[in-house]
Every structure is written in C-alpha cells, then in structure tokens.
Amino acid sequence: MVVEAKNLVKKYKDMVAVNGVEFKVQEQECFGFIGPNGAGKTTTMKMIYCFVPRTSGELQVLGKDPSIHPELVKADLGVVPQDNNLDEDLNVFTNLTMYANYFNIPKAIARTRSRELLAFVQLIEKEKVKINELSSGMKRRLMIARGLINDPKLLILDEPTVGLDPQARHLIWDRLHELKNQNVSMIITTHYMDEAAELCDRIAVMDKGKIMVVGKPKDLIREQIGEEVVEVRLLDTTVEKLKQDASGFQVTLEETSQKCYLYCQDCRPLLNHLADKGYKHILRRPATLEDVFLKLTGRDLVD
C-alpha cells in the first residue's frame, strides 16, 4: 500500500478542511481526487506530502507516519504543487541539480539524472535558460521533471495542467502515461474531468471535506449516471412539460435554470420520442465523469 488514510481530519481555527476521509492508494496505481474548490483535495494531498500536519485520524505514506518520519517519507516522494515554485535565482539545469542536492543525491548522479529528465520533458535545449523566460507549459514540465529528480516511489501532482494550452496538456499527459507504464504510483488532483478520466485508475470525488464516492471512472459513470445523457435546453419547453413527456421512460431527471439532464441506459428511444414531440434543442451523448461530478457535488457555484 502506498497511502492508507483512516478517518483523516484536518481542522483549522474556524473551519474543517478535511472531515474524516478514508482511502487507500495501491502500488502502481494512479489515484485521482476531484471536487469543487474548497473540497479538501489539496489539504489531503498536503497531509500526504508532510506539508500540513493532520489534526486526527491515521495516515501511512509508503508505510510510514508523516508526522513521525517526515524526512524519510519525503525522501521517496515527488511533489508537484499547484503553484509553480521554481527557483528563479537559478537556471533550468541548476534548478534540477540544486533540488537533487536537497535529496542528498551525489553531484555526478544529479547531473546525469537532470539531463535525462530534461530530455524526458523536452526541455533539453533550454537547460541554460532563466526561469522567467520559460512559457507556463515549460515551467510546468520543469516542475514535473523536478518532482522526479529523486526517482520517487510516489508522485503527487496537484493540478498538473492547470492553465495550459491543449498542446502543452497533451504533452504532459503523454509523459504521465509513460511514468504509469514505468509503474510509478501517482496521486493527482484536477478540475479537468477529461484529465481525470484519461489518467486515473481510480477516482475519489470530494466535497465539503468528505469523500462522496471512490471507484474506477467507468464504474462511477455507470453507477451514478448510466450510459447516456439527453440534454434539453429549456427554450421552448418547461420542466413540467418535459417530465410529462418523458414519463414513459426509465430516466432520472436533473434540472438547472437553463437545461434538463435526463440520465438513461439507452437514450435513443427517448430522443426519438422527444423529437417527435417537436423538441428542437436536444442532445444525446455518452455520460461522462463531469456528469458524475456535477450530480454529486451540485451545480451551484462554490465560492
């Protein structure tokens, strides 16, 4: 077991950030946390990487307790936090070798390893460049390279591709897939459902400091939503009328101010039925993780 948490709690003075979560991360697994802002994902991650001490509960990271042996735990972790915190006084290459020094990695090994990692994240031609001359995609890749400098047993990524363009995101996904193939265990948080579905073997959906469900992305979609979704724009109809029109079908209906979502196993008959009834603004599509997310954590804006 890479991480094992039981009834894990983090309280701050006036709020409970993590309210009794329980989860296990297996070896060679990519485990994802998704949830709205303030759900407690980042705090949970920070407890794992020894940045934040827990208030109560049990936590084992790589078989050790982070509150007793932080140095030993951290020695085998790779951490890529939400905000880039590269050392702006040092160039790209020195960022890696200096970081290696924090892990007590001998100089010669550090230099070889830094070169390999720069090649891995496609930054080898930038090795002498200053940090503030890198694009945000490059900085993120360098952050990932830095997180790998100690050949970690567990890589922790807090929103690895936030704010990046599609090319940069896909490049990072490629690299992370390659790491998965090399059997590196990973924990990821993300706001992008496609990213979670793409990378994670299992996902925990968090809200208000609690884990709502844990499972494989496909299972979660099937269990929580079904196979398909019909979206109806509420332009030329009302919720009441729609409920009546769909009453003959086995569906679950969810409404927002502008749209209705109808979850079903096979939505084709429903779609045809609604089309016959004269509905114009309807769309049938496969259910996604985003549906699960919004169903479980609500559609209201979290501030």
Binding site: P53, P70, L77, P81, D83, D87, T94, Y99, N101, F103
Partner: protein, 255 residues
Amino acid sequence: MLIKVSYRWTKVWYRNYVSFLKFFYVNLVGNLGDPILYLLAMGFGLGAFLGQIEGVSYIQFLAPGIIVSSAMFAAVYECTFESFLKMIHLKTYDAIIVTPVNIEDVVAGDIVWGATKAMLSGIMMFVVIAAFGLVHSWWSLFIPFLIFLVGFHFASLAMLITAWAPNFDYFSYFLELVITPLFFFSGIFFPLSQSPGWLRALSGTFPLTHAVELSRSLVMGAVPQRPVTNILFLIIPSIGLFYWSVWRMKKRMIK
C-alpha cells in the same frame, strides 16, 4: 512544537551561496556603498571639525564601528527582505520543505547565510579601512569571528521579525524603531562615556554596543575593558533569538 535542526541546513546555505555568486557585483555595491559613504562623510567631513576622541582622530574612532554596523545591515537585509521574498513571493521555502529538508533547516540555513553575508560585508569593509591605514593591530585578524557573531545575532533577530511580518512595510517599522536607534546609540558615532547615565545603561544592554567595543579594541590593539561581558552579550541573546525565530517560523509555515 518540536524544533530539530539537522545537518541539512547546509543545503539551504549552499543554495543561497550559489544564488549569491550570480549577483555578486550587485551584492557588493549594495553592501559596501552605505558604510563607505558614512565613513567618508562622517569621518573626513565631520571629522575635520572635531578634535581627538578618546585619544584618536574621529575617523579612527568611527572605522571599527562601521565594520560592525555594515555586518548588522547586511544580516538584517538578508533575513528580512530576502527571506520574506523567498518565503511569501517566490515560494522557495515551500519548494524546499517538500524534500527531506525541513522548515527548521531552511530557517537555520537562511540565518547562517545571513551571518555569512554579514561576515563578507564586514571583511570587505575591514579591507577598505585597512587601505585607509586605520588598522593598527594583528588582533584585528579576529574581526571575522566577531562580525560573524554580530551577523548571526542580527540575522536571528531579523528572522524573528520576518516570522511575524504580514508584508514588506512591516520591515520599515523594524528598521526605523530598532535598527536605526541601535546604529546611533551603540557607541559607533560617539563615545557613550559622555552620555546620560540612563542612555549608557540602556546601551550597555545592546549586543551591538559590545560588538563595537570589541571591534575597537581589536582594530587598535588595545586591551578590551570587559571582554567576557562583551562576548556573553553577543552569544547568549543570539542563541535565544535563533531558536525563537526558528520556532516562530515553523509555526507560521506549518499549520
């Protein structure tokens, strides 16, 4: 909360050293500009109007104190503005403490680095003063040790302030209300023997006063009047301030 500083503070010291080498010339001007100006303006300018003080010319009186004050300012600058920048704005601390280097090591590394820069600054000032022919004794070879202690003291004090500081403006209060008064009333610019009794008593509690006394003795080759008191006043508060600042900083960073 448990405080344990490990050998890994050297990693942080080394990081600061590498970063320092990149900005070596900027650092040099920043550290030496002010003290040299004081020495010239006060020593030659004002000194021309003054007779002898404690049996020596005014610039000769001033020079040993300026060595010490340059060390003080270097340490204070390093562990207020620089450390705050690394902690809050650049998130350098955040990056380092997810490695086996703990927050205590980071703070200790920054403090010892502050002391190191103070020492370098003091040594450079000493060389300038020697070039003016104002150094008269081999005892002055102990100056680097003395100014390292001064640097360690003020780096620890500055770090403690940094642990409380909500923003950069906060440091102005510290500089105006603590450092500047120390600078003027620690016997650098005038001998305290002529001052009112209460000021002399107060000044006697400042570690800086004791550093200035020692510096003057070492530069002149004179026997210090109270060397043990001087050294104790430099070392004991420093140890307290060091642990206090590491503890406060840990409290701030680890929540």
